[in-house]
Symmetry: C2
């Protein structure tokens, strides 16, 4: 028998619908054309409902991207660090593709013009992702795939740098083979200079 | 004896004053607070003069940054490639510092949200800079500082990647010592994997 509507479950349904609407609209129209009104219409809720939880479209998108990144960009550990780095960097490049309509690319670009938004992105998305990388790298060092003296901060800049170089200057995101070659270089560097 | 005012010289003076005003105002207020009106006032010209040459504040800033980068970011060639890379990357990091008020950082962030502006940045600023890097790297390969088989496209992504990784995610720009360590890693990678 159907009980009374559960307000908590209804509210979670609305939250998920709003985050999904923000992501799909951003992919269709790009960030600059995204509006709270459009998100509300797509999600089937009122603008008031959105403003009750989020002050701006940037913060809606941040929460949507946080869940997306948390679901998809986890660090694999198959016991082969170089293969796992390839898997993970390809997933991250996928999150930024295509650059013109990727909600993640839009959020990161906005963060470069807005220090407060950037701080939230760092805290919610980037810091957990860096922690995941460092844990995976330490496990590679423990089993001897990388020298114990290799510096995770240097490795992080070199493994992910090529992606952000291409993204910032719009030089075209790296494909799977380009990623493979760059990661092989970084592995050689970490082994040679440690 | 003073001749009649030279319209060509006066117009060049106005152009230089406008570009200088755009750079200094952007450093003081950041890109979002920059206006054509503010630039005109600082340069001592009318808004009409600016709009005669540039359609928007983004295009004024692009020309200002193009001249700035052309003056300061030329590739040195002292015969020591690794030292020259350190010099050049430090100059480029300087152009992006401090990130919040750097006209170059603002322009590159805007380019990530505006494909047409990004294409102009690539053509006016980035392409000549990449050509300078490739020429310097080929000269290092000719004298045997790097193996002839090292790929300039891979080297470019790895030498400049750390800067753009820090910039995009606002992780703090690398200092001189951090740049030195990363460049040493890339040199080792190019020698080990060629």
């Amino acid at each position: 028998m159907a009980g009374a509507p559960d307000p908590q479950r209804r509210s979670e349904r609305a939250r998920v619908a709003i985050l999904d609407a923000a992501l799909s609209l951003c992919r269709e129209t790009g960030f600059s054309a995204l509006t709270i009104e459009g998100i509300a219409e797509r999600a089937g809720v009122s603008k008031k409902t959105i403003y009750r939880w989020w002050p701006s479209k940037g913060t809606v998108l941040l929460d949507a991207v946080t869940e997306l990144a948390g679901r998809t960009a986890l660090f694999p550990d198959t016991g082969d660090f170089e293969r796992d780095m390839n898997t993970q960097v390809n997933i991250v490049v996928g999150l930024y593709s295509p650059q013109d309509t990727s909600p993640v690319a839009a959020l990161v670009a906005e963060g470069q013009l807005d220090a407060a938004l950037a701080a939230s992105i760092r805290e919610q998305v980037i810091a957990p992702s860096i922690a995941g990388f460092e844990e995976r790298m330490r496990s590679a060092q423990r089993v001897g795939e990388l020298p114990g003296s290799a510096d995770p901060a240097v490795a992080l800049d070199l493994f992910y740098g090529p992606l952000y170089h291409r993204l910032a200057l719009r030089l075209g995101l790296p494909d799977e083979e380009e990623i493979r070659v760059r990661i092989a270089h970084v592995m050689a560097a970490l082994r040679a200079t440690a």
